[in-house]
């Protein structure tokens, strides 16, 4: 608990904001669907009504309550992103560590595989895959989306994990463990992986970010099951129901804004982790105000109490040619104004 508190204090302000936003979303996801005012599927005669006391976020073209859809949507989207994050990160750790530890031809092949899947653009491939599955019995529910997203989400993390695992592997304590006859899998699980926890955490956050964006995009174009209420599906129906043309902004703004805020929260969190590990980023942010004045990295070191190169010193010689200085009085410790 104390370690958590210490970590919290070290986070920059923006990262703290990110964590708070995430917590809010998590709360919505957990509690939300339990307290929805209406069933999101139920249609009412109140078509495309603006937000009101009865419907906080207004209604859709068919009179469904947007607020209820929203609450359910947050949970569904987060759930989906979470599972993709877990599976993809798990895959990336397995591939990365195996490549690093086994080495040789296995490493070459796995690295090639990773790089190939990194460079092939994911969304078009996802569209093709889901294009086939959509509307069929195999394409029902969230599983197909989770499946294909995880399939394409592991390469990024795998590359990073492999690099880190390689550097750990070359450290002395691993060699010592091997010498004492410890079995390979034990070394991996108990020595290598615990040293990569922060890296794996950052990788997980990134994967979740990717999953949220990709799943929302795929749902928006109608390639996922339109009967389940994720944030992306809401946007799909909004587009289909011509929300723009009828001016029903309350239909598409909440889910879209939620996705943007969720993404922002994750990016802020990642920035915080970045700053914690890269001291230069931290210093850049905090160290530039000295004695009330802003100091840029390319400025000379400030001299306390001195006018910092302005005012009366402007009268000082502009160049150091032999001629000009004879005309000016010198600047010495006792005569800082050059008079």
């Amino acid at each position: 608990m104390k370690a958590l508190a210490r970590l919290w204090r070290r986070l920059p302000g923006t990262a703290k904001a990110g964590v708070i936003m995430l917590v809010v979303f998590l709360l919505i996801a957990i509690i939300g669907p339990e307290v929805i005012p209406d069933n999101p599927n139920v249609t009412t005669p109140l078509q495309a009504a603006a937000p009101s006391g009865a419907h906080f976020f207004g209604t859709t073209q068919t009179g469904q309550d947007v607020f209820s859809q929203f609450l359910v949507g947050v949970r569904l989207t987060l759930e989906l992103a979470f599972w993709v994050g877990v599976i993809a990160t798990g895959l990336s750790v397995i591939v990365g560590v195996t490549a690093a530890y086994v080495g040789g031809i296995v490493d070459e092949l796995l690295s090639l595989l990773t790089n190939v899947f990194l460079v092939i653009p994911a969304l078009p491939l996802l569209i093709v895959l889901l294009g086939f599955l959509n509307g069929t019995s195999a394409g029902q529910g969230q599983l197909p989306v989770i499946f294909v997203l995880s399939l394409l989400g592991w390469p990024w993390g795998a590359r990073v994990v492999r690099a880190q695992a390689l550097s750990i592997r070359s450290r002395d304590f691993i060699a010592a463990a091997r010498e004492t006859g410890e079995r390979s899998w034990r070394i991996i699980v108990f020595d290598v992986i615990p040293n990569m926890v922060s890296l794996i955490a950052a990788s997980f956050v990134n994967t979740v970010l990717y999953a949220v964006g990709a799943s929302v995009a795929l749902a928006f174009v109608g390639l996922t099951d339109p009967s389940s209420w994720s944030l992306g599906t809401m946007l799909y129906w909004a587009q289909l129901g011509n929300a723009l043309q009828i001016g029903a902004w309350w239909w598409y703004v909440p889910p879209g804004l939620a996705v943007a805020l969720l993404g922002t929260a994750l990016v802020l969190l990642n920035t915080g982790i970045d700053e914690l590990s890269n001291p230069r980023l931290r210093d850049a942010r905090s160290a530039t105000r000295i004695a009330g004045r802003r100091v840029w990295p390319t400025d000379p070191t400030p001299v306390f109490g001195a006018p910092h190169g302005r005012g009366g010193l402007a009268g000082f010689a502009r160049s150091f040619s032999r001629k000009s200085l004879l005309d000016e009085a010198p600047v010495t410790a006792g005569n800082p104004e050059g008079r």
Partner: protein, 329 residues
């Protein structure tokens, strides 16, 4: 030189993987998926139906290997057959029409965004902690916003409410005919403005954030301090010493991010009904027009790979260490 050849080899392997994936995906799909495609086009004439079954691998097609060879032959002859939803127009014709729109819009917008974003990033990195940094959270928000959502907002505000810009299509087909006229060009730009703005707004943020972080790290390097010790002007220190070095990781990031930028732009085309290949791809997926779908997928993939290769060439040109590093391997 060695380095370039290695990279070329890698991209060729990646292209081959994509082509092969394209071959296997319909064959890896559950039977119900393939049936769904065939069921969607009951009115096909027998030769067309046979061709479709060949691409899907359904029915009796001979050995897997012979199918693969036939498939490769088709791919290299750029023969993808007719589009199912636009029967009998060949796939290649449809794709060719869409490519120009996407290339123009996405290509130009991405380059502008990269240039502007990198420039802002240099400024933000050099003056880290200053006024520009206050815009960082807003930048992160922009970066996290899905392209298509921003598109919806822009349409709502500028297209519908204010009526400043058209909200659909690449040009007004009723009043303008395509051709090298100023009026047509003006109309095209009019229609391209909001989509371009969407792409630029979202990706500028990403490039700026990335460049800023790289710059901050670079400005802390010893050779920048040495440049200051040499009494060089601020401009030379920031550009020739700091920014030129920071540009290298930034370019590498550009290559990696290309895939994402293209992907985002594709979905955005649907919102604007912009007739680029994204719009075509998504319509093809919705109508299960598999030949068209697969052709566009290949096109996009190869294009991204080619762009990555070009970025690699630029990096070799800009970073002297790469040539030696690879030579000494």
């Amino acid at each position: 030189m060695q380095f370039i050849l290695r990279r070329l080899g890698f991209y060729l392997v990646a292209a081959w993987v994509a082509i092969t994936l394209n071959f296997f995906i319909p064959r890896a799909m559950p039977g119900s998926a393939v049936d769904a495609v065939l069921a969607k086009f009951p009115q096909l004439l027998p030769p067309a139906r046979k061709a479709l079954e060949a691409t899907l691998g359904s029915g009796d097609q001979g050995s897997l290997w012979s199918q693969y060879v036939t498939y490769l032959g088709h791919v290299f002859r750029l023969d993808f057959g007719p589009s199912l939803s636009n029967y009998p127009t060949p796939v290649t014709t449809i794709v060719a029409n869409g490519v120009y729109w996407t290339l123009g819009l996405v290509g130009v917008a991405t380059v502008i965004a990269f240039a502007v974003g990198t420039g802002l990033g240099i400024l933000a990195g050099w003056r880290a902690g200053g006024r520009l940094d206050r815009s960082l959270p807003a930048m992160m928000f922009l970066q996290a916003t899905p392209y298509f959502f921003l598109a919806l907002l822009l349409i709502q505000v500028f297209g519908i409410t204010l009526g400043w810009f058209p909200v659909a299509g690449a040009y007004d087909g009723i009043n303008y005919t395509p051709g090298w006229t100023l009026a047509y060009a003006g109309n095209v730009l009019d229609h391209a403005f909001l989509p371009a703005l969407t792409i630029v707004a979202t990706s500028v943020a990403g490039w700026m954030l990335q460049m800023r972080n790289v710059m901050v790290t670079t400005v802390g390097e010893d050779y920048v301090v040495a440049a200051q010790a040499k009494g060089l002007s601020d401009r030379r220190v920031v550009f020739t010493y700091a920014a030129r070095n920071a540009l290298l990781p930034q370019l590498q990031g550009f290559g990696l991010a290309l895939g994402f930028v293209v992907s985002g732009a594709l979905v955005m085309e649907i919102v604007f009904s912009y007739p680029g290949i994204g719009y075509l791809l998504l319509n093809a997926a919705a109508s299960k027009d598999t030949p068209l779908m697969q052709a566009i997928f290949l096109l996009i993939t190869v294009a991204v790979l080619a762009a990555n290769f070009i970025v690699d060439l630029v990096i070799v040109f800009v970073d002297p260490r790469v040539r030696t590093r690879e030579a000494t391997r």
